[in-house]
Structures are given as structure tokens and as C-alpha cells.
């Protein structure tokens, strides 16, 4: 690959704060003139990645090339990138003109040229006649435009935008999205946009980079990401989806919600557990007839402006979300079917929890920063390092943190049609995955208990 084609190349970048890893071996190339969006929930490392590119942070490991040269250690003021900050960071003691001229003044350009350039960008951001204004007197949207003008007037190779629209109201946000898109076309430089808003990402980008837990989950065009999510995280994060447990019986045949379906995926092997993703708009819903592959009863129906969003429960007890232009009454039994191409089968990331543990004595094992009782520990030499497997179903959650063996916070919830798949973060920053029928909320503080029988020790 030719270096000159890519404006940014990130090679094996890792970064940690203290002993908390926020970026884990990131590799990414961004082409010249692209509009790239880094998308992910808060805490996924997207802002850290942006700050590494801007130079506000120095990477613990890896290399960053900008415009073909190694800039891993270059200080921010010598990098050909400029940033639009989330809260704008306009200099409050300078007026609009001097804010925009700040970078040009530092370059010691002649004042006539500075004036010309500032006027030019003010025109681009449609803020002519505002140059004498105090930045505090501007509305949020106007401050946003000045922040963009202040960055692009320096003609950077890359414009970094860190959730620039997060502070604006919905209407303003929609307008600014269009303006940013138009600006990108007009300027022809690379935009790197950081957001947690999937809709914004889908609207604006040429390329979306989905991040979670310090890792890149998927890189692709908006259509690719939406239609072919690579795993259940991406599927859940982008748009609405039904994510269900299934079994890949053979090539082109998958079983879920108690039925076997034809599909287009292959190469998983035989009888392999998988995740099945169904977009709500891909499920056909109609009056019960012979054409139905399976059936269900409508339990709720909400009008969403263009379509109806309905929850349908199958006789087997699975709940499925369906979007359709037609309305079906609550309580009605309906027929359902899905086209093979609309069934997205994904390899499961994990089948059970796996932790690194140490045998303490004959009946105890230590992992997750806690010592657990475990009768089978006697089969292993004391002090030996082992792996511990715990089934998703075997982790017990309690309302009170103190009741459990160790405390944790619910960090991610996935509804799987008939149960919830939770990700719980422990105090030691380890993830525990749990299947449960109980309803928990994101951010709930809970106690975690694992019974001795549930602990399966595996020799390394």
C-alpha cells in the first residue's frame, strides 16, 4: 500500500491510563479526502484515539503516520491537523475575528492576508458580519461555526471533530450535519469525526469505524455496517435489531426460536452455537396463512411516524420486534417469515466466561480479585495458574452490592428474545457475562456470586 494515498496510518497503537487499557492494538488507515467516523459508546476509546492523532496524548505503544511521516512523538502544534472540540473551546477573551486569526497570527502572516483568509472562512461557515462579535454573545450553533472556521482557516490536512454537535438541540444538529457534509465536499480535506450517535455516523460518513472496549469492531461503509454487522455488538449498536441465540446446524441451515431456517451463511461447521441478527424491518408480518414460516401474537404496537413498531411473542416464548407499514391489532395472531438473505449469522464471541485463576489451596481458587471456594481445586497443584470457565447462566446477581462475593456495575445489556445477556464490569475492570431473565438497568450496582459447583477449572 502506498503511503501517499493514506493521510493517516495508525499501526499497533495501544494506550493505557495507569493500568487501565483504553486502546488495544489499533490499526487503521484513512485515505485522503475521506469522511471517517469513529463510532462507539462512551468509554470505548474513541476520544483517546482522536487525542492521540491530535498529539494531546503520547501513545504508550505503536506508531502514527500523518501525511506519510512518523508523527508519533510530534507535539500538537507541529502536526498538520486541527481540532473542533466538543465544547468548542473558543478563547473567551478574543472576538470572533481574533479567534479565527489565532493560528494565522502565530504563523506571522501579513495582516492583509490574515484578513482575507478569515473573511473567506467566515463566508464558508455563513458567519459574515460576525467578526467583531464577542464569542460569549453567540448561540451554540454560531459558536460551533466559529470553532470550525478557526480550525479550517489553517488549511489542515485532517480536520478532527470531537462530538461537535453533542451540545446542540435536535433541530440544530440536523442542520449542522448537512452543513458539515457540504463543507467536507467543498474543502476536499479529510474529516475525522468522533461520535456516539449512530444515526449521525450513518448520515455523514464515507467510512465508519465502530469501536468498543478499546478495540475496533468493524470498519466499513455505512451500508456495509448496517447490512452486514460483524458481531452482535455492532448489530445492536447500529440501528435496531433482534439478536437471538441460535445453532448453525449445517452450511445454509440455522436453528433459532425453535425453528430451522434456510440461510446464506456457511463455513461455521456443524451444530455450532451462533448469534442470529434480524433487522425489525426484514421480518414479513401478515394475516395468519399457509405462507407463514412461524407464528406469533402481537403484544404491542406503536406508531412511529412512518411505520408501526410491533412486539410479537411466538408460542415458544420468544419476543421479536417487527417494523412494518401495516398495523396489526394487539392480541392478533399473525404469520411471520424471513428471507434467507436477511438472516445474519454471527460467530459467538464467547460461549462462557473465561478467567485467569490461581489455585490457592485444596479447596480454594483465586480469580477476579476474589478467593472462591471450589472443591475441584484439589486436583491441581497449589499455586498453579489455570483457566476458569463459568457458564453465563451460573453467575448470580444480587440487588445489594454487599450481598455478593464481589461488586460490579451493569455496563451493557443485550435482549435476546427470551432473556437478557448482560456485561458486568467488576472493580478490577474485568468483564463478566451473564444470562438472566431478570430485568436490570444500565449502570445498576450489583453483587455477584458464583457458586462452587459452577466453577470449572481447566489446566493450561
Amino acid at each position: 500500500m502506498q503511503k501517499s494515498e493514506n493521510i493517516i496510518e495508525i499501526e499497533h497503537i495501544s494506550h493505557s491510563f495507569g493500568d487501565k487499557t483504553v486502546l488495544d492494538d489499533i490499526n487503521l488507515t484513512i485515505g485522503k479526502g475521506e469522511f471517517v467516523t469513529i463510532l462507539g459508546p462512551s468509554g470505548c476509546g474513541k476520544t483517546t484515539l482522536m487525542r492521540l492523532i491530535a498529539g494531546f496524548l503520547k501513545a504508550s505503544e505503536g506508531k502514527i503516520y500523518i501525511a506519510g511521516s512518523d508523527m508519533t512523538k510530534t507535539p500538537p502544534h507541529r502536526r498538520p491537523v486541527n481540532t473542533v472540540f466538543q465544547k468548542y473551546a473558543l478563547f473567551p477573551h478574543l472576538n470572533v475575528f481574533n479567534n479565527i486569526a489565532f493560528g494565522l497570527n502565530l504563523k506571522k502572516l501579513p495582516s492583509t492576508e490574515i484578513k482575507k483568509k478569515v473573511m473567506q472562512v467566515l463566508k464558508i461557515v455563513t458567519m459574515t458580519d460576525y467578526e467583531e462579535r464577542d464569542v460569549d454573545s453567540l448561540s451554540g450553533g454560531q459558536q460551533q461555526r466559529v470553532a470550525i472556521a478557526r480550525a479550517i482557516v489553517n488549511e489542515p490536512e485532517v480536520l478532527l471533530l470531537d462530538e461537535p454537535l453533542a451540545a446542540l438541540d435536535l433541530k440544530m444538529r440536523k442542520d449542522m450535519q448537512m452543513e458539515i457534509k457540504a463543507m467536507h465536499k467543498k474543502l476536499g480535506i479529510t474529516f475525522m469525526y468522533v461520535t456516539h450517535d449512530q444515526e449521525e455516523a450513518l448520515t455523514l460518513s464515507d467510512t465508519i469505524v465502530v469501536m468498543s472496549e478499546g478495540k475496533i469492531q468493524q470498519i466499513g461503509t455505512p451500508t456495509e455496517i448496517y447490512n452486514e454487522p460483524i458481531n452482535s455488538f455492532v448489530a445492536d449498536f447500529i440501528g435496531e435489531s433482534n439478536i437471538l441465540n441460535g445453532t448453525m446446524i449445517d452450511d445454509n441451515l440455522v436453528e433459532f426460536i425453535g425453528h430451522k431456517f434456510e440461510c446464506v451463511d456457511k463455513g461455521f461447521g456443524k451444530n455450532v452455537p451462533v448469534d442470529v441478527v434480524l433487522r425489525p424491518e426484514d421480518i414479513y408480518i401478515f394475516e395468519m396463512s399457509d405462507a407463514a414460516k412461524f407464528s406469533g401474537q402481537v403484544t404491542s404496537s406503536i406508531f412511529k411516524g412512518v411505520h408501526y413498531e410491533m412486539m410479537v411473542t411466538t408460542p415458544e416464548g420468544f419476543e421479536i420486534m417487527i417494523q412494518d407499514y401495516h398495523h396489526f391489532d394487539v392480541g392478533k395472531t399473525v404469520g411471520l417469515r424471513i428471507k434467507p438473505a436477511d438472516i445474519h449469522v454471527m460467530k459467538k464471541e464467547r460461549l462462557c466466561n473465561t478467567f485467569e485463576g490461581t489455585i490457592v489451596d485444596k479447596s480454594h481458587i483465586r480469580f477476579l480479585g476474589h478467593t472462591f471456594k471450589c472443591p475441584t481445586a484439589s486436583q491441581f497443584a497449589h499455586g498453579s495458574k489455570v483457566n476458569v470457565n463459568v457458564d453465563f447462566r451460573d453467575v448470580i446477581l444480587q440487588d445489594n452490592e454487599e450481598d455478593g462475593m464481589l461488586p460490579g456495575i451493569v455496563s451493557f445489556i443485550l435482549y435476546k428474545g427470551d432473556h437478557y445477556h448482560l456485561t458486568v464490569l467488576t472493580e478490577e475492570d474485568e468483564n463478566i457475562f451473564i444470562d438472566t431473565n431478570d430485568i436490570w438497568d444500565d449502570g445498576d450496582r450489583i453483587g455477584i456470586t458464583i457458586s462452587p459447583e459452577a466453577i470449572k477449572i481447566i489446566n493450561l
Binding site: 498529539g55 507535539p75 500538537p76 502544534h77 472540540f85 473551546a89 478563547f91 473567551p92 493560528g103 504563523k107
Partner: protein, 262 residues
């Protein structure tokens, strides 16, 4: 209506009592009598003799010492305290808490404890006391106030301002001079004023660190004077002048602040 009247008369009464002693000083600065309280007719003699110096040379030099010590201590405190505030703001939570705790010690400690502790430091080290020790002592109790007036400005500042300046091509030094300093200036100014007034008003710490080489500030001069029984009459016009100056200054500042808001 009666409620309002009662309220304002209460405030009025308090203010009258609060200002009565000062008023007496101002009034009796216009008479020649040696003892305060004796009215021997209107005269400007005390004012002229204050400015002629001569006989009361020691009073004028005490005034100069007070002003010089105040200016030097306030300036050093402002620089040291501002740097410290920037540093503290960027520290990890634990060292930050530690340094803020120690910073609050001179504020919470009574003057006399600060005075005795510094006295013991200087005599233990065998440092001869004079200008340097007074100024060092004043910096010690002034800087914490500067830190406390600059820190809120830093907290209120958009955390990305400094980075935005770097991003736009400023070196760290330029980012500091062009962005940080203008932002912190109001906090630094109020810190400086506070430090200056604390310094010129200080008596206890000064007394313990000034040594016995004949160096006097206004406070120690007045104290020595009062212990001899009775004030040098020229202190009356001096106090009156200081009071009127401060009054005018504060009114001007207030007026300007009010105008800016409109």
C-alpha cells in the same frame, strides 16, 4: 412597609456604629490637639506636618516599608501562587489533595501560630531578621489566598482551551501567554489585591519576623506608639487618607463592574 423601615434602620444603626470610630479619626485629623478627643479648632497642621516628614521621619519610612513589603510580597505570591494553581489543577487527585491541605494550613492557622512557627524557623537557622524574613513570612500567608483565587478560574475554564491553542500551532509557552494568562488574569488580580491588603494590614507575623534592627512597618510603628501611650497625632491624617483612598478605589471598581454588566 414598617418591616422595610425597621430593616433599613437596623442596617443603618450597625453602619453608624461601625463607622463611628473611623469618623472620629477623620474628624480629629483636622485639629491640632495631641490627644484624640480634644477639639482645639480646625487646622490642617497635621496634614502638612505629615507630608513634610522631617520630625516624623520614622512614620514616613514605616509607611514606605509597609508599601514596599506589601508590593514585593503580593507580586511574588501572585507569581508563585498562579504557577502553583496551574500545577495543582493538573495533578493527580492524591498529591492534589495533599498540597491543597497544606495550602489551607496558613489560612486556618491563627496569625500568632504562623508567626511563632516562622520565628522558630528563622532563629533555628540563625537567619538575621529584617526585610527578607518579613517578606518571606508575608509570602507564606499570602500565597494560599492567591492559589484559592486562581483555582476557581482554572476550574471554570474550558479544559480544551490550552489544547486548542496548541492545536492551532502555539508552542506550550505561547499557549500559556496568549490563552492561559488572559483567562487567569481576573483571579490573579483579585489574588494580588487580597495579598497586598493582607500584607499591609498584618501586624502579628510582622512583629515576630521583623527583628530588632529598627525596621518598622506601619503596624509595628503604631503598636510601639500606642504602648508608649497615645498615638502620634499624624497617624490621624494618614489613616484618613488611607481610608478615603480605599473608599474611592472600591467605589470606582464597583462602578466599573456595574457598567460592564449593562
Amino acid at each position: 412597609m414598617t418591616k422595610k423601615f425597621l430593616a433599613s434602620s437596623y442596617l443603618g444603626l450597625l453602619l453608624v456604629i461601625l463607622y463611628a470610630p473611623i469618623l472620629i479619626i477623620v474628624i480629629f485629623s483636622f485639629t491640632e490637639a495631641k490627644v484624640l478627643g480634644n477639639w482645639t479648632g480646625f487646622s490642617m497642621k497635621l496634614y502638612t506636618s505629615l507630608f513634610q516628614g522631617g520630625i516624623h521621619h520614622s512614620l514616613t519610612s514605616a509607611l514606605w516599608n509597609t508599601l514596599i513589603i506589601g508590593l514585593v510580597a503580593a507580586s511574588v505570591s501572585t507569581i508563585l501562587g498562579t504557577m502553583a494553581a496551574i500545577g495543582i489543577y493538573n495533578l493527580q487527585p492524591r498529591p492534589r489533595k495533599a498540597i491543597q491541605l497544606v495550602n489551607s494550613i496558613p489560612i486556618l492557622n491563627p496569625d500568632i501560630i504562623t508567626a511563632i512557627s516562622l520565628f522558630l524557623l528563622f532563629v533555628s537557622l540563625g537567619i538575621s531578621q529584617g526585610y527578607t524574613t518579613v517578606i518571606l513570612a508575608h509570602i507564606t500567608f499570602c500565597t494560599p489566598y492567591v492559589v484559592l483565587s486562581v483555582l476557581p478560574r482554572l476550574r471554570r475554564m474550558n479544559e480544551n482551551l490550552y489544547e486548542a491553542a496548541l492545536d492551532l500551532g502555539a508552542t506550550p509557552f505561547l499557549a500559556l501567554r496568549k490563552i492561559m494568562l488572559p483567562e487567569l488574569k481576573p483571579g490573579m488580580i483579585s489574588g494580588f489585591i487580597l495579598a497586598f491588603t493582607l500584607s499591609i494590614d498584618d501586624f502579628v507575623v510582622t512583629l515576630f519576623t521583623i527583628g530588632n534592627e529598627g525596621l518598622e512597618t506601619l503596624s509595628t510603628y503604631i503598636y510601639a506608639d500606642a504602648r508608649k501611650g497615645g498615638l502620634t497625632p499624624e497617624l490621624r491624617p494618614l489613616s484618613a487618607i488611607i481610608f478615603i483612598t480605599v473608599l474611592v478605589l472600591l467605589l470606582v471598581i464597583n462602578q466599573r463592574a456595574a457598567k460592564k454588566k449593562l
